[in-house]
Symmetry: D2
Subunit: 345 residues, 4 copies
């Protein structure tokens, strides 16, 4: 049994990864890929890895036909203005943009600086992180994507929140390091290689929009994200600094982290005493859908450092979207996401 | 139908990639992985990408049991001293080292500086590059691996040699740029990140051992390889400078290159007039088994520049080895090698 | 007027930078450079940038003769065992190692895990960061070096501490990102380029030894350093998360940071509203002795993010050492440290 | 004694480096720096390394006043249209662009695809590479800049040509690897970090414009440049493949290379049997004006590989320009160019 899918916004980085995953998906037939800026071009001219793998050309978004599942990978702000049209094309929609991640229109307005264009749709979408909403996604027709930094943050906090180990009166300070692909396929002066190579560039101390997704999903208030760009193309490392409740021990944390790893096929705990790779790091996750979690606790101060590493374009975007598709269709959750990552890279 | 395989020398980079590919191979059951330096350790402690994918530990090479196919990924020089023992363990052997790549013991001695320890075995092996020896590999019991630089060089020259376009009286000068994984998993001062990052380091102007494989397989005499290390982990780009016969045109070259691409599932021709990726480059091949070919001809001087890009650990090592396995077993040649590569990376 | 200096431990990275700076110093004559592991070799064989600039060879440390100022750039733990001998060779000593940075033997033991070998010397040394101890250094005979991560941390906190703006009851969490040169010239498996490239690797969540220098110099208790290695060779970025006292405003911070910049020739405040380089980043500081400071304040929560960028081998090691020399000798503080850094890099 | 200089085109990479060098020059007073695109901005907003070193703002090019020496660092094609105006402002002009590098208007037209706008000025300029034209530069009023790739190529060939060792009937094939700063400060999609990082990208097999400067200066005909971009910001490595005359030995080459190094303060010969840095490489030349030369000869085939490494913005642009200024003014040739480069980087 096979379904038909199309992608609107296929020329961006997340759209390209989505296309790659769907082309290799055993139960999916990719019908059309649309891109306004590249329509008429072969998809492999934009995503050169797909040469000999995909012969299709980008079509005009206006020419997208009815399909079983429609993926939207548009720049933020565009999906919300046409969501009625898109819903007419497919019974199920997975939108990778930020447009339908927040359930509360006022939260959206607070972080995105303008009113949402289709607030009545916010409730119809489920937040598309299976580790948080697996059962809801399985029965949903409309699923949002996830912010890559929000995903690394939410997964770093998940074991602590789920096991109720966090001292919620204390601040949660999340330091996030990111690669250049996070900023999207459109270059600017700051992304010019000569300016962007060799950087350790803190570009946002407070106020990154993905914070809203952490507030919503972790139900935390005193949370801040500090963003630093480093010299990799792919990868997010979130290092969350928080306080655990008095008396919480390293043993308690092991239990909490292992529980999350056991329940989720793409979560691994990395906490080694020897070797090179002792803690989570995105280097070995490039191309994979895994999220690696680790932690250290200073028992004397209850200061916990919880770490999550992901590939921003996979677990932080296209990978989670395909994982949601699998759940929505009742397929094996890991289908088309089995790539193990590369060592070395 | 499934076969059993084992790997001796599984802790190196090529061995690790081989293991990753074989773990995902639908017709293969990995029985044992041996490593003298890491025996007793979990394979994921050395190859951290395999965490949650492989629970096995490295065993002592002396404990390898009988299997259908035995892979050898030992440092050069070791397989030849024990080939009789290994042959007793498996009916089919694929050896990734340099030990059985050359057919002529004297050529081996010339380039490796010492007599071969098992010269009577040289004739039993087939050179393991399917694009050159597909039919022989299909009926072989013993298949060698390929040198990564030799592979990039041989594939760059293949269309020219096969279509008999080359002026064989002229020198063939091959400039090769390589990443740090080519030097293997054992570090040295020159591979220390602070010394190896940001390099454009010509470490061998003449005399690289892989030259012997080009001489043998392309039947060329005046060929030299110049090796330059650059700041990537994976990837080989071979740029061959040669002369075509008088009157050979760009159109003739197009025909020759397309023919090779049509006959080989992992060969692609890249020669675009626009966009970012106009010629072959290893960046988009990381993790994939493709070899991308391109060329430019100065018709006025008959100077041809032929370019081949590969991932040295895939098409240049483990990928070609698995491709050979598929041929030897009569399976689809591309099985377990479908990964398309990543964009961007 | 010119003085004679020698360096013991000149083959490491800090020693090499020190040599480079001293060779160009208008008032200094470099007499000898010692290295046990490289004695007999030309210094340019280890530090290839010095070819044609320095014709000297490394000598045996035992052959060091009397000089005006002796620099020690040995691995940690060695200077303290021979400090009596070294003091007999020179009236003034600048020791770049960690051996004499802490004033309190018990603090040393706590962080370095063993008793100090010459505790009676701890009081004789001044901590060698001019921004903290300019006047004491000017009259000192014995000056210690500084930890590079400690320097970035101390300078990030200096404006806040000096202006008494910090809420000292709250934790100070310092996230530090570092390049590969920080680990020294001796490679290991983790520093192998193929393993070290492309990393975002949190290698220490708590307990980094440089913490002791922050505790001592800033007189803070609740301070922790979390260390993450990223893919650059040189550079440290320290991002300190702290709380300011109630009512402290962005305007107050501007005043405090500008005051520190005005008093110190190598401190700059970087806080731009436009352009690529809006906050401190080590990319543009490679080779320079500047420390760039920046900050952001969330007035609603009093959460301040204070950032300091340095070149770990310059301001974090050899540069500060030469700056101390200048002060000790009564020369212009910036002598031989005028290099402005490179753009782009 | 001090002279006044101004720069038109100071916001590009070469212009920025020029400004940095001139600010530190003991005999120079920088009067004005002009940039059409950035006029009104502080120079440190574009070149952030100059913060606290230069308080000046970019002025409108039309507001440049009379000075002793005028530097032009404009995009190619602009200087030739206004050279009369510029000549009215200063008695001496150093133009870094390609506009006045070629002596022959028809050679210009052949390689640049259009007629030169001021062909009568071509003869007034001296080609600004001191290693080729030291004496002429010393008495010139108008000096051109140099192409960075041409400089690496010309210096790689210089010892061979000067000692008349080259077999001029054979092709000279020059393989050049370059960093991202060579393409200038204006980004494009291909220079976007996510697309440009990790590349080994052969972007020009034949026909690079700098070839014309090699043809002119080396008086060679059969010369081709093949350009490959690699993942560094600064640096050019030119690897020239040529034939020496029959009987020429390694000893002859040593003599020729040493002679060039002895005559030129910024030329060094690098040819070591041990250590990490055995041949020229740009990594250690960043920020320095040195050009490192090396070679290997296959005596059996007379195939010589001659290598030159430079920093494209220094010896390949701003450094050579300042070196020319020193010669034109009768100052020490190395003034303001003493920076030794960094190890490691």
């Amino acid at each position: 049994m096979s379904i038909s899918v199309s992608i609107i916004g296929g020329s961006g980085y997340a759209g390209g990864e989505l296309l790659r995953l769907l082309l290799a998906h055993p139960h999916v037939m990719v019908k059309q890929v649309a891109s306004r800026s590249h329509m008429g071009e072969y998809v492999y001219q934009v995503h050169p890895n797909l040469r000999k793998c995909a012969q299709m050309k980008f079509v005009d978004p206006a020419q997208i036909e009815s399909v079983d599942v429609l993926f939207l990978a548009l720049p933020h702000g565009q999906a919300q203005t046409k969501i009625h049209e898109y819903a007419a094309l497919a019974g199920k929609i997975i939108d990778l943009s930020a447009d339908f991640r927040l359930r509360d229109g006022s939260l959206y307005e607070q972080w995105y600086g303008e009113a949402h264009a289709a607030p009545e749709w916010l409730d119809k979408f489920v937040y598309g992180l299976p580790e948080l909403h697996r059962d809801e996604i399985a029965i949903a027709d409309y699923v949002s994507g996830v912010g890559c930094n929000a995903t690394a943050s939410n997964l770093a906090l998940l074991p602590l929140v789920k096991a109720d180990l966090l001292d919620c009166t204390a601040d949660v300070t999340i330091e996030i390091k990111v690669g250049s692909s996070e900023a999207g396929a459109e270059g600017n002066l700051g992304s010019h290689h000569a300016e962007r190579a060799n950087v350790i560039r803190t570009f946002s101390a407070f106020g990154h929009r993905h914070t809203a997704e952490v507030i919503q999903e972790m139900r935390l208030k005193n949370v801040s994200l500090t963003m630093t760009a480093v010299d990799v193309v792919r990868g997010v490392l979130a290092t969350a600094h928080a306080k655990v409740k008095p008396g919480v021990s390293t043993k308690d944390l092991w239990k909490a982290y292992r529980a999350v790893a056991n329940e989720n096929p793409f979560i691994r705990v990395v906490k080694e005493q020897r070797g090179v790779y002792r803690a989570p790091e995105p280097k070995i996750l490039v191309g994979s859908n895994y999220a690696d979690l680790g932690f250290e606790l200073d028992e004397s101060s209850s200061h916990v450092v919880s770490i999550c590493a992901i590939d921003n374009l996979m677990k932080g975007a296209a990978g989670s979207a395909v994982q949601c598709l699998n759940l929505m269709m009742g397929w094996q959750e890991t289908t088309a996401l089995e790539f193990m990552g590369l060592h070395p890279l």
